[in-house]
């Protein structure tokens, strides 16, 4: 039942990113098949010999059955996983053909991932918002109140200016010195070659880099009622096009662009995931968890 809250159109009616994130994650988790082996918060670390006064519930009775010695299973309360989300806050992200624009969708996605990481995984999480330069930076941390800081930064992230990956990239390198997971949320309106070329260095530090490609349905299938003048949201340049063009040639070009970007990112060892703003958020969360599991 809670899964219906994963629908972006429903989320749009909820005010407050913290509530949205909580709704999404709990809806998502409630829909998972709960497995006894699927742990979120604890990772096995080592065995330790039992000493009087230890909690009996932690004794590994299987080991005792084999060795007739009492050992405690110890878990690591914290991980080394570091989640950093690079959020594109350029003007093109404010495009939306229905209730939820790409910036809103990206916010919901980021908020949900932060919530999942901090509350569910106890990972350190951080945020960098950028357009043609670094606009905001929240250092990854597991400190108390980190989630609120991240959500506040997301709230303040307004779409403006234009995207330029190359310019803020050198700053990313400085901020991302610790190994972790880097998620880049953007509509990636640049040439795939340039994108991969710019982002690829992030991997060199041992980071897992995933591109969440957020697109509006009309980015892929624009609807025109007649010959129209189109305005680029980032550059304000105008172009007159016909429905015939958007119906045939443009769709082919977009499909080719997406295929090229996917191939190039995979070839470069980057993760790539295409998210349409009219689709639920759970796919993105599942992708993150899968990746997270792979890193255990």
């Amino acid at each position: 039942m809670l899964q219906r809250f994963l629908d972006p159109a429903v989320l749009h009616t909820i005010s407050g990113l913290d509530l949205i994130a909580k709704t999404v994650v709990e809806g998502f988790v409630a829909g998972l098949h709960r497995s006894p082996d699927f742990g979120f918060s604890q990772e096995f670390a080592e065995y330790r010999a039992y000493t009087p006064g230890d909690d009996l519930r932690r004794i590994d009775w299987n080991v005792y059955a084999r060795t007739e010695r009492l050992y405690l299973r110890r878990y690591r309360g914290e991980t080394n996983t570091l989640l950093t989300i690079l959020l594109d806050a350029s003007n093109s992200m404010q495009f939306g053909s229905h209730g939820v624009n790409k910036m809103d969708y990206a916010r919901y996605l980021a908020a949900s991932l932060f919530y999942l990481a901090i509350h569910g995984q106890r990972d350190a999480a951080g945020l960098i918002t950028f357009d043609d330069e670094i606009r905001d930076y929240v250092r990854p941390s597991t400190r108390q109140g980190q989630l609120h800081r991240l959500l506040a930064a997301l709230e303040h992230a307004e779409a403006r200016a234009r995207t330029d990956f190359a310019k803020p990239m050198r700053y990313f390198q400085e901020f991302l010195k610790r190994r972790g997971i880097v998620l880049i949320v953007s509509d990636f309106w640049e040439s795939p070659e340039s994108i991969v070329h710019t982002i690829e260095p992030l991997r060199f530090h041992g980071n897992e880099v995933i591109l969440f490609h957020v697109l509006d349905p009309e980015d892929v299938r624009p609807k025109l009622n007649g010959p129209s003048i189109l305005v680029d949201l980032e550059t304000d340049s105008q172009l007159e096009v016909t429905p015939d063009y958007t119906k045939h040639e443009y769709r082919e070009k977009v499909a080719a662009h997406l295929a090229d970007l996917r191939d190039r990112t995979q070839a470069a060892g980057l993760g790539y995931y295409l998210l349409m703003t009219d689709r639920p958020l759970d796919a993105a969360l599942r992708e993150y968890l899968t990746l997270r599991e792979g890193r255990k």
Partner: protein, 671 residues
């Protein structure tokens, strides 16, 4: 070329509207934001050129549709030579066969003149029509001379009264459907009596040219029996002989002595001489008309002394039958109302009804259906058996007269009639001590023939709730006095006062006799038997409750003019011939009617030349045209083009719709 309504051209300013819309549409194209133009390519030049072309096509069509619509309203015309239209003209030959054309050789002269016109009509189409009281077309428009001549010869003298107003109306209707010029040749005796009440009724449209052919040029003297006043019915073997009064009129005649005869069933029963003054009238009175049982065909005739013998008689039919029975039910101690009602019926209705008076206690064993009508006079108590019996009688078509006096005032409701008694009005206590009639419905015969009950004093009346009953008479204080209500197939008349001289002085008043007579005739349904009617009058064959019954009519020639279907359903019948009609009406009654031509037809005075010239639209010129249709004049005739323009406009509108829908269809991207 010109315009009938050029002021509509002002609407040409409206042509700016499509221009405005098309330009506005181009200017108000709202730029559509997109995330990035990275993958878009400009198709500006090609697409714009393409759309402009289509826009212009659409714009042109819209402008054309508007232009044609405005032009159609402006009603353009072209002047065509009348000569060019001559081959299209229709020569309409109208031969007057009204009753007056029976005089002398008028009808034959008219036919000969018509055949003369046919001979000279050339290749033009012609149509023959007879004109009595109505225009009756004898042929379709055609060129075949022999058929047209036969149609002219086949026209028989009629008995109707001609009216040129009716001719004008019929020709106007014809001119609306026939778009070619019409040359109307009227062959008539041009009676002055045929003129319409107003000249505009006779006016002819522009495309109709009237040519009159008068078969007589001056009026002729004529004597006629103008009217006969005789009863339609006599009742009983002891009925008193009745008077017959006839008026003999002379038109354009010198003073003369005429012999007038009363003919009953072909036998002359009385003859009188009368001195008819010059151009005047004289009245003849036959004091004793005696007829046997059944219907008798009677006539008043005068000796023929003019060229028009057909109008020297006037027919009427008289029926002698047994009187009908009527029942009066009164209270035990009421002996006044039987006296007054019985006296009134015997005095007025020529013993048409035999009144049987009984008190309410004796009424139980009577069969109501044996009586033509029943009167309930001021009954306090009505036995339920009798009330049910009377209700059934009324529902099945019987008639009832209820008089509600002081005894009935003790009840809360009028029995059978069903009206609630609101209160009783005792006018003897007001200062005037009585109340007079305030308003009355003059269309009701029982009231109209009783002079509206003027001077009758009412001392007591019941104020009843009229409901859906028809109120015929009200007292001065608006209390309903005489009401009628239909119950089932029958009718009930209610007098809210008594029929004695205690609650009013009506029985002592002269108006009482005609009231009782007319009410009795009305309730018995015998008010329209026998008598005489004019030609072209309509006869009501059935009432609303007699729908399923068949009627039978035999005309003066012994034929049955109604088909089986008409006999089963026709509501009325027009008496088109003079003579005696025999009828069996839907209610089963037999009737016979004497039908006479309109007396106006006997006045053979002719229309003055100046009036005829005015009618022809060429006042001052000679009214009598040559007997052949004149050669086509070389004038111009405007011919309207609006019909063709409207057709063209519709075609362009369809094309515009198709183009616009196709254009929109290709521009809208399928999702």
């Amino acid at each position: 070329m010109g315009l009938f309504a050029p002021w509509f051209l002002a609407a040409l300013a409206g042509l700016a509207l499509p221009f405005y819309l098309h330009l506005l549409k181009r200017q108000t194209t709202t730029p559509k934001p997109v995330s990035s133009l990275m993958l878009f390519e400009s198709r500006t030049q090609a697409s714009t050129r393409h759309s402009r072309l289509r826009y212009f096509l659409l714009l042109s069509l819209r402008l054309l549709v508007l232009l044609l619509l405005i032009l159609a309203f402006a009603n353009p015309f072209i002047n065509r030579n009348t000569a060019a239209l001559a081959s299209n003209r229709l020569v309409l030959l109208v031969i007057d066969n009204s009753f007056s054309m029976r005089a002398g050789t008028r009808l034959d002269d008219a036919k000969n003149a018509a055949i003369g016109v046919l001979s000279g009509k050339g290749a033009a189409r012609a149509q023959v029509a007879a004109f009595g009281s109505q225009l009756r077309l004898a042929t379709e428009p055609m060129e075949d001379q022999s058929t047209l001549r036969s149609a002219v010869q086949a026209i028989q003298p009629g008995d109707g009264h001609g009216n040129f107003g009716e001719l004008g109306r019929a020709v106007r209707a014809m001119a609306d459907s026939v778009h070619t010029p019409i040359e109307l040749h009227l062959f008539s005796d041009m009676q002055r009596g045929n003129l319409a009440a107003t000249f505009s009724d006779m006016a002819l449209p522009d495309n109709v040219k009237l040519v009159t052919h008068a078969v007589v040029t001056r009026s002729e003297p004529n004597w006629t029996v103008e009217s006969v006043d005789a009863p339609g019915q006599l009742w009983g073997k002891d009925a008193k002989p009745v008077h017959v009064q006839a008026v003999i009129a002379g038109y354009g005649t010198p003073a003369a002595q005429r012999t007038v005869s009363l003919v009953v069933s072909g036998k002359t029963t009385a003859t009188k001489s009368v001195e008819v003054p010059a151009n005047g009238r004289a009245t003849v009175d036959f004091p004793a008309l005696t007829v046997p049982y059944g219907f008798s065909r009677c006539e008043i005739t005068i000796d023929s002394a003019d060229a028009f013998p057909a109008d020297d008689l006037r027919r009427f039919a008289v029926e002698r039958s047994d009187p009908q029975k009527a029942l009066l039910i009164h209270s035990y101690n009421d002996n006044r109302s039987p006296l007054y009602i019985g006296a009134a019926l015997s005095a007025a209705a020529q013993s048409a009804f035999v009144l049987e008076s009984i008190n309410v206690n004796e009424a139980a064993d009577r069969q109501p259906s044996n009586y033509a009508f029943i009167v309930l006079s001021d009954l306090n108590a009505l036995p339920s058996l009798l009330e049910n019996s009377l209700t059934g009688y009324v529902r099945s078509g019987g008639s009832l007269l209820i008089a509600a006096g002081t005894s009935a005032g003790a009840r809360s409701q009028i029995p059978i009639f069903g009206a609630r008694i609101k209160e009783t009005r005792d006018y003897s206590r007001i200062p005037d001590r009585y109340m007079a009639v305030g308003s009355s419905d003059a269309s009701y015969a029982a009231v109209a023939k009783a002079d509206g009950w003027n001077g009758v004093k009412f001392f007591y009346a019941l104020d009843v709730d009229a409901g859906n009953a028809r109120v015929i008479v009200r007292l001065g204080d608006q209390t309903p006095l005489l009401l009628e209500k239909r119950i089932g197939e029958g009718r009930v008349v209610l007098l809210t006062s008594g029929l004695d001289n205690l609650t009013n002085d009506f029985p002592l008043h002269p108006a009482f006799v005609p009231f009782i007579e007319q009410t009795a005739r009305y309730l018995a349904g015998s008010e329209r038997q026998g008598g005489a009617r004019p030609v072209d009058a309509y006869l009501e064959l059935r009432t609303a409750r007699e729908q399923a019954q068949g009627v039978e009519i035999t005309d003066p020639e012994g034929k049955r003019p109604l088909t089986l279907g008409e006999a089963a359903s026709a509501q009325s019948f027009q008496l088109t011939e003079a003579g005696y009609y025999q009828l069996r009406l839907a209610n089963g009654r037999q009737n016979e009617i004497g039908v006479n031509p309109d007396p106006k037809e006997s006045n053979l005075d002719v229309i003055p030349d100046d009036v005829l010239a005015l009618w022809q639209g060429n006042g001052g010129k000679s009214t009598q045209e040559a007997s052949t249709p004149g050669p086509a004049t070389t004038g111009k005739t405007p011919q309207s083009l609006w019909w063709y323009i409207m057709l063209l406009g519709v075609a362009f509108a369809v094309a515009e719709s198709i183009l616009a829908s196709r254009y929109l269809g290709t521009q809208r991207e399928e999702s």
